[in-house]
Each structure stands twice: as structure tokens, then as C-alpha cells.
Amino acid sequence: MINKVSPDLASAVSAVQDGSVVMIGGFGDAGSPTELIHAVVDRGVSDLTVISNNAGNGLVGLAALLNGGAVRKIICSYPRSSHSVVFEELYRAGRVELETVPQGTLAERIRAAGAGIGGFYTKTSAGTPVANGKEIRIIDGEEFVFEAPLKADVALVKAQTADRWGNLTFRLTARNFGPIMCMAAAHTIVQVRRIVPLGAIDPESVVTPGIFVDTVVQVAEPMSERTAVIQERAYP
């Protein structure tokens, strides 16, 4: 019998270890798996490499993980925001390493890892400093840049609904990196608002099939990172 439902957050994130490469879903505060991240904060792990579109806001979620010193390196597309204070301090103090990747290249590298692609050529970043040191190939007269797949030990993702097989639906733009990160990690952990019986999700509407998911945990009412930032709440 397949039952990917974990009883609580602490058990759910037990796959995260010192030195893990961790993908974290979300774009801005939509889709941020805040409660899963906090459970990782509680584990007290260190030396993480985080792959995420942004670099956290305020003092909760990814920012809390950074603030606790758990992160050695972050690979992201857009680390700057009006509330990315923790990241900026750590970065300027040389306490966190940053690799900036164009957003589409980030997404495609993640998908490539999930799809068994050994690398691909993209026009994105050709002729820019981002392409420095990368292999360039001329295809049909245009410059393309070689990009390698980007995989992870663990992915932390927020979705809307799951069944015990790990089939997922998402909600609005909280979908963003979730489905591809589920594909690209050796162990994918998903927090969902609702867990429904097997068969309750229309097979036509499953966004992420359960094969890409290892652990599901219910967080019925996830916190609003936006509100937490405005209220200057911190975790822990």
C-alpha cells in the first residue's frame, strides 16, 4: 500500500540533512512552503545549498532559514526585493554564496534534471556576462549557451490538494516552480491544504502525478508570508 502522507512536519522533513541541496518552491510569496521551511529550521541542519527563485523576505520562511545560518549557497534568479534584508546582509558580509541564473534557464535546468536531460542549449544569456566561461554553440546561425541540469537532494513544495499517492493540484500562481521541482529532487516533500481520498482528483486535472512526490503533509491553513513580513514577525 502506498501512503505518502506524513503525520507531522518534523517527520516530513527528516530527509533534509547537513549539506543537502534543497529546492524551495515559490515565486514571491505565492507558493512558498513556509511551514516546511520552518520545520527545516527546527532541524538545525547546516551547509545547505538552496535553489529557489527568490532569496526570502522579512524574517520568516526562506529568510528565517538564511538568518539561522543554515545556508551556504543560494542559486536563484532574483535575490533582490524590498524585503530581502536578511539575504542582503549575509551576502554583503560574505556569509552566503550566490549564483544568479536567468529565470527561464533556472526553470529549464530544473526540468532537465527531472527529465533525464544531460544538458541543453539556450539562446538566453548569449552575449552577456552570464555566459562567460560557458560553452557557446552556433545553431542555425544563432549563438546558444550550454546549460547543465540542476538537481536536488530534497524539494520543498507547497500545493493545494494531494491524495495518498502524492498526486497534486496547485492553486493559481502558487503553482510556479512546484511541478518541476517535484521532478528534479531525489526526495520531494509537499505541504498541502487538503488531503483527499484516492480517486478524488480528476485524472485529467492532476498537475503533478504522484510518481514525482515522496512525502505529503497537511498544513490546512498555511501562514501568509506577506502578512508576516508586514507585521515584522520572525521565526522561530
Binding site: P79, P102, Q103, G104, A107, T124, R175, N176
Partner: protein, 228 residues
Amino acid sequence: MTTFGPKGLSVPQMAWRAAQDIPDGSYVNLGIGMPELVADHVPTGREIVFHSENGVLGAGPIAGPDEEDEELINAGKKMVTLVPGAALFHHADSFAMIRGGHIDVCVLGAFQVGTNGDLANWSTGGSDAIPAIGGAMDLVAGVKRVVVLTKHVTKTGERKLVETCTYPLTGQSVVSRIYSDLAVIDVTDGGFVAVEILEGLSIEDLASLTGGPLRPAPGIVSLAPPNL
């Protein structure tokens, strides 16, 4: 505010002007900031589908107080709405639209545009700057027509239309047209060509505020936006 150069178009007027050129039925991506305003000025009767790279086609206006949903945001992280016909998808599919050449037009801001169409809009190259790229490099590499919406010069009077970009590039030879507060300028093989110019501004004055060679189009006309 414009301490250097003549008083040009207001920001809404600039956005209005850019919106006039977007054909009916276009799929359009608007950069964060000033370009977002273009959506407010789509001419009546045109149906334009707005793409937001975080996974929306058919993004509608900014959400009203009763419509706000933190899980429905645009690429600028503002809460928005969906129009009938909207679709939601994940990031790899969203950038497949961008990189695969499916988006017709994108409107971006700029730090610098070179006479050859080079665009610099992600980093001023300062050693202390935190490099943030976002989707700009993907947009310029993949979208069919890339246009720029920008003040003609910076607040401190530096030229943004330049002979050669000195800031790190976003993309090479990608910009087709520039909508500034002073003019509408095409980027051609022969450099900057003004196709519309602010009423009362001479081509010589415009050229003096432009960093690369600029010439008037044969049929150059006045840039005449409504009051906005």
C-alpha cells in the same frame, strides 16, 4: 522632476504611446515597473492577452480590495486578477512560451540601449550590487518583438540611448523600438531613427540627449499623446 532636458511625456502618456502599437490579438509580456502601465492603455476594441512569467496567460487588472488573493500575483508580485480565457501553468511551460518565440511583444525598462539594439537592464555593474536577473534575459532572447519604455535620460542627465552599452548586457541586438518621454525611436541597422518627436522639440535637441547617432525618419511626425 526632469531637471535635464525638456519636459516630456508623463509616465502614463509614455505607456499610452507604447500601447497604441500593440496589434489586436497579441500575446504580450510587460516588464516590472513602468511597463506594467501599458496594460491600462490598450485601445478600445483590441483584445490583448497578457502573459506573466510566473505562470499566467490572461492576467487582468490589479486586484481591487475585494479581489485580492496572495496566490494570484504577477511577475512584479502585485496581486492581480484573471480575465475570462485565462490559463495557469508552471514555470517551465511559462518560459517555453517566452523562449520558444510564442510571445509577440514584450515591453521592458532599460538602463541603456545601444545603437545596435543591445539592451542593458539588469545590473549597473557596481561591485556592491546584488546581481538579480529575473526573466529579462529570457524575454529578450525569445520574444518576437522587444521594445523599451524608458525616460530618455536619467535623473542625473546621463544618456540611456548610447553608442555602446557600458553596463552588463541583458541581450545583444534585441531592441526594436524605444518609447521615451521625448520620442519614439526605431533601432535600425543604421542606428537610432526618430519616428515621432515631442511637439516643440528639435531633432538636434533630441540628438544632443541621445548617446549614439540619431536621425529623423523621412516621415517623422509629432508625438501627440492625450492628457494623462
